[in-house]
Subunit: 267 residues, 2 copies
């Protein structure tokens, strides 16, 4: 699995303050710390950016790229901010992301063609409801592919996020199993080796004992790797979880498609 | 997953001494400790039992069943000891096990019919070589089914062990991936919901850092659970590994088919 750090988000006080004052140091230190902790990519989650979306996103991307060569995921629902981020970007980049929600189909999806970028699609209903089961998710995936082709985007640009839900939801355990089977079935269903990404922290969002949340993450991650997940979005400072991901790569490189090959000495 | 403790084996000094002196206490204490640690079943591995195989196996089974109601796996290559154990058994029991090795086909397999017992089949070549890949394993599984039917044993009595090999083997990582795909493919290939079992400690046998071995176990076990493994044979005193197994059952009960349902409070 490729490990994308989800640490650079606006809900992180350090990022919020740095963005408000347009001071790059704190953001740059965070980016370097994520890279040192083993991140293969960085997700830059700016939030909606209601004021000055373009200059703020440009500031974020430029600040990070001044200190890190890691590929970025630009993570915002604001199309103006997304376009500004893509313009500012000088390296490999992934648009994160769109769904069947009409506003996103209209304003986010075309950016993948315009900027020749990879793009993440969330398996959500057009009204942003989470699908109930794997059948609903697979139907949505087929719709997504249809939209991708309609927009003239090469299907190899697509990365699918099956949407992990909190395990504390009433049907959390059913959903956790369904997400695994969706990851496994997507390449056959769509007829090409589609890449997949999942936000691991979604599993443990909400209240609950912190140590139990960590062990849930560390248990679910190998299940995702075994199902063939391409890319995990996770808190890279959860060192035991990141270590588990490296062990997945070491034990089953053909399934967990690591960004780089580890030796036991590095675990 | 059903958790079968592999702790009651002749290589354990406590078991060896107790068996030599035919003193049940140490064995009984060990059985109770395994049950307290969360074992759903106990594997009684007596070794070859070259002297007094029948009375020694009877002693082992009776000693354990005097203090525990857990189902047993009788784990010996000695057909006389196996038969004596099956005669002494008063509860649910699994014969562990046979393979395409001629001596086992001849002397162990028929005991499943005679005692109306479940039986584990190892996916090994007739000369006990480990298969190179999943294709070889699946071919052997088909052969095994043929032998089962030829012996007049109901196929539902069969539990298949795909044979985990040490990760330190040159092709260990390939084998670890192949075992997962075999577990996933067996029910479709054989046309019935065949149960599977795997010896987790095989993964980490040989030299190596103990802590790294544990994290390898804790990472591979959820992969096995996600692939649909029915039963894991493991050192039940590796508490973090047993805990990981319970989290598998909690997160994906439909895949990991727990012997009982856990709550987060019990994790």
């Amino acid at each position: 699995m490729i490990l994308a750090a989800d640490n650079m988000q606006i809900t992180n006080r350090v990022v919020a303050d740095a963005l408000k004052e347009m001071r790059p140091e704190a953001i740059q230190n965070l980016a370097k710390a994520c890279e040192a902790a083993g991140a293969d990519m960085l997700d830059i989650n700016s939030g909606p950016l209601s004021r000055d979306p373009e200059s703020k996103m440009r500031f974020l991307i430029e600040s990070v790229q001044d200190v890190s060569d890691l590929p970025l995921l630009i993570d915002t629902a604001n199309p103006k901010a997304m376009a500004a981020g893509l313009r500012a970007n000088r390296k490999q980049v992934i648009i994160n992301g769109f769904s069947l929600e009409p506003a996103k189909l209209e304003a986010i999806l075309p950016l993948a063609k315009e900027f020749d970028a990879d793009i993440i699609a969330y398996l959500l209903h057009p009204d942003s409801r989470v699908p109930a089961d794997s059948t609903e998710r697979l139907n949505i995936a087929v719709e997504i592919c249809h939209e991708i082709r309609k927009s003239g985007i090469n299907e190899n640009r697509l990365i699918i996020d099956p949407v992990i839900v909190p395990m504390m939801w009433e049907n959390g355990a059913v959903q956790a199993s369904e997400v695994l089977s969706v990851i496994r079935m997507l390449p056959d269903l769509l007829g090409f080796p589609v890449r997949t990404v999942a936000g691991l922290s979604n599993l443990t969002s909400g209240k609950g004992n912190r140590e139990k949340k960590r062990i849930a993450e560390q248990t679910y991650l190998p299940m995702l790797a075994g199902a063939g997940l391409t890319m995990a979005l996770l808190n890279i400072f959860h060192h035991e979880t990141a270590r588990t991901a490296r062990v997945c790569s070491l034990l089953t490189p053909s399934l967990s498609q690591p960004a780089r090959i580890f030796t036991w000495e590095e675990i």
